[in-house]
């Protein structure tokens, strides 16, 4: 028995749109099966994972809060992935952005520095993330070093730096030796959009990033440049688009957005520096980017969907005693289903047997 793949000649837009939905449902069925294997009721799990968060106003706000960094990072990654460049170190760029921004927050702590602090923090975080993202990009363009491995290695390095700062120079001297900094001043805290709401301005940044990206990718030469670089690199070179500057640009953009996500989370959500500031957002955003088919609107939806799995996972941990790792496993399954669904859209697949087969 063997596989046969035939490229489809006509790919209908309907199939393209339906594929991620099918992938999502399949992933749910597989996850339900795993939960059943673990001796729990998949139906109860579905209730806790999906229905309860969606029917509770507090959870809905939490959903937006969790989707914000995912959307910011994933929209940045979509630039890289479209150009077929593999930045998988967004988690590190996120961390570095948080460190750069927090530096200002901690250095202005207790002073009467005013309104300029927050915007500058945001800019610093973008700068920090972009610079950190440019390291693998530079190593690739200048020396031809594989960007997948270097960007990933830099995640571990960034986490060590953060750990050092939180336990060392940035530790709150009055904090009973807990590895955490002082709480940010109000001037360094990202405000909520509404009084008494948990949703902060980061959500607006994410929406703006999505809109701007939609325009860039759809209407500008730069957007076409990314698409061409990803689909036909030699043709991109022939068009006069230098692969080097494309690489540097997309890594700077995705690093910058990941860095922004980092400070948004620390300043709008955590309120201080600690050794762990991420919910694995940098890696999860890869799933989000693929689930959203690298399309800005798709990424917006995907970030909400994946944020739901985070909240559902926390609920399930409390209510059903299901381990949090289930969430990550589910995200892995989801990403696999999305990739398989993509392939089913592009190819007609059948199992065939033939006499004297191979």
């Amino acid at each position: 028995m063997r596989f046969e793949l035939t490229p489809r000649t006509n790919i209908s837009p309907v199939m393209r749109a339906v594929a991620p939905v099918v992938a999502f449902i399949t992933a749910f069925l597989i996850a339900g099966f795993v939960i059943w294997l673990m001796g729990r009721s998949p139906i109860a799990a579905f209730d806790v994972y999906v229905l309860q968060p969606l029917s509770d106003p507090w959870s809905l706000q939490e959903l937006v809060v969790k989707a914000t960094p995912l959307a910011l990072i994933a929209i940045g990654l979509s630039y890289c992935f479209r150009a077929n460049l593999w930045n998988i170190g967004a988690e590190g760029q996120y961390t570095m952005g948080a460190i750069f921004g927090s530096w200002l927050a901690l250095n202005t702590h207790g002073t009467d520095a005013g309104l300029w602090v927050l915007p500058l923090m945001l800019l610093l975080s973008i700068l920090g993330g972009a610079l950190y993202g440019l390291i693998p990009a530079f190593l690739k363009t200048r020396f031809g070093v594989n960007e997948i491995l270097t960007s990933l290695m830099l995640v571990y390095v960034a986490q060590q730096i953060l750990d050092y700062l939180a336990r060392g120079p940035w530790r709150d001297p009055k904090g009973f030796n807990f590895p955490q900094s002082v709480t940010f001043d109000p001037a360094a805290t990202l405000p909520s959009i509404l009084e008494e709401s948990r949703v902060h301005y980061g959500a607006i940044f994410a929406l703006v990033a999505i809109l701007v990206t939609a325009v860039i990718l759809g209407r500008t030469l730069f957007g076409y440049r990314l698409k061409l670089t990803g689909d036909a690199p030699r043709a991109a070179q022939f068009a006069g688009f230098s692969a080097r500057s494309t690489t540097l640009a997309v890594f700077a953009i995705s690093g910058g957005l990941a860095g922004l996500a980092g400070i948004v989370e620390v300043s709008g959500q955590i309120g201080q520096i600690q050794p762990s500031i991420s919910n694995n957002y940098g890696f999860t955003a890869i799933t989000v980017a693929f689930l959203g088919r690298l399309n800005p609107v798709g990424i917006l939806i995907a970030s909400l969907v994946v944020a739901l799995t985070f909240i559902g996972g926390e609920n399930a941990q409390i209510l059903l005693k299901l381990p949090l790792d289930l969430t990550q496993a589910f995200q892995g399954i989801l990403l696999m289903c999305v990739l398989a669904a993509d392939a089913m859209v592009s190819y007609r697949i059948r199992f065939a047997t033939r006499g004297g087969g191979k």
């Binding site: 000649t9 209407r219 500008t220 030469l221 730069f222 957007g223 076409y224 698409k227 061409l228 689909d231 036909a232 030699r234 043709a235 070179q237 022939f238 068009a239 006069g240 230098s242 033939r354 006499g355 004297g356 087969g357 191979k358």
Partner: protein
Amino acid sequence: MKADVPPSGPPLVELKGISKRYGDLLANDGIDLSIEPGEIHALLGENGAGKSTLVKILYGVIEPSAGEIRWEGRPVTIGSPVEARALGLGMVFQHFSLFDELSVAENIAVALSNEWSLSTVRSKLGEISRTYGLALDADRAVWTLSAGERQRIEIVRCLLQNPRLLILDEPTSVLTPQEAEHLFTTLDRLSAEGCSILYISHKLEEVRRLCRRATILRAGRVVATIDPRASSAREIAALMVGNEVGEVRTDAPHQVKGEILRVSKLSMPPDGLHGQALRDIDLVVRSGEVVGIAGVAGNGQSELFAALSGERLADRADAIVIAGKPSGTLGIDARRRLSAAFVPEERLGHAAAPSHRLSENTLISHAAIEVSRSGFILMNAARRVARSIVQSFDVRTPEGDPQARKLSGGNLQKFVIGREIIRKPNLIIVDQPTWGVDAGAARLIRQALVDLSREGSAVLVVSQDLDELFEVADRMAVIHQGILSPLKPIGEWTKEAVGLEMLGVAQAQGGTRAV
């Protein structure tokens, strides 16, 4: 027209009603073909007629949708190349089925059955090489070899298995005239020893030289089986193409004026592991003329194209002067702004992005010039440009603005050439303008290039197809191992002289001479 081969026993192989369908396309449509023992049988047809599909079916690489294959009179199913080889079929592929990083011996052993160890391959290789005059060094890595030597590996690989039927797919397309003659001698000898040969080609001359029976395919069907020696070239061509293809007219009045492109002492290191370095290239192309560059593939043509187009930059600006401006260090966009245009060899993936629509594909060479403004794409302008290319160059498209990959080779080539010509460039550089293109499209493209030069542009054509160059070029040079021979008027070249240059013999004798 039926050829006069006396039937004695069943034919070695007989194809009956072979069809192959790809989606809407019927690549083979009820093909009948028979080959007698010891016969050299030609399979003639132009690009896209279905020859390659048919032989891949015979060799078990692809599966027919319908039809029957009989081997010595009994029906067989050939499920894979392994089974084909077990029956006694050998195949020499057009785009060789070789592995660049492996040695010659490894390349041969990997295609043979398990009882062949590397050491037996080595010893047999020497034997076969001596018998048939096919010299090969067992331990050389394939990427170091010339196209002719690579083809020898393919042939030896087949001969080691004592084939009953040897299939050769366009074997001379990468050979010099001298290498081709050597191949014909080997084939004659194999045929005399009783081995049948199926010889696939679109070149009439060599078919008439080798074969007494030819099956002609057109649009996936057999249109005739003839004796090529008994029919005129014109008749055969008409059968292949369906209607007569006129010749390219080069006699329009024209004046050769000032130089548009001057290349002086252009040298360039090889690009990547297996590239060819360019050495001291000198070249001038003037307004109003077509200059041709001949050579066997892999002798620096693609490197020369990359250097001239600006995809790779020279280290001196004055190595390449376009329209009076030193351009060696300018990128491809800047050169386009000097009214230069370029068409690379690979249509899909280099000249055009396969999954992009034609309108998007116009952006590739027009972006810097007319279909974008302050970074934004003018999609309507791009569509307009695409439409006018499609109309002016008779590009047949399945729909209004299709993806590039949905066009046939000939139509896509007309599009990518048209995309450049429509800009009325002062200089156009084309690498392999009609490679793998049907006769009608080839003629249209050649005529368009000649017409452009007659209107005052400078045209540089790099091609492996000597007939093409003799047809369109006013002056010609030959490239061999990154060195360009002096440019001479086309009338001063003979095919033999070109062949010697292609082999590097003339250079070895110290300079070029007309032979």
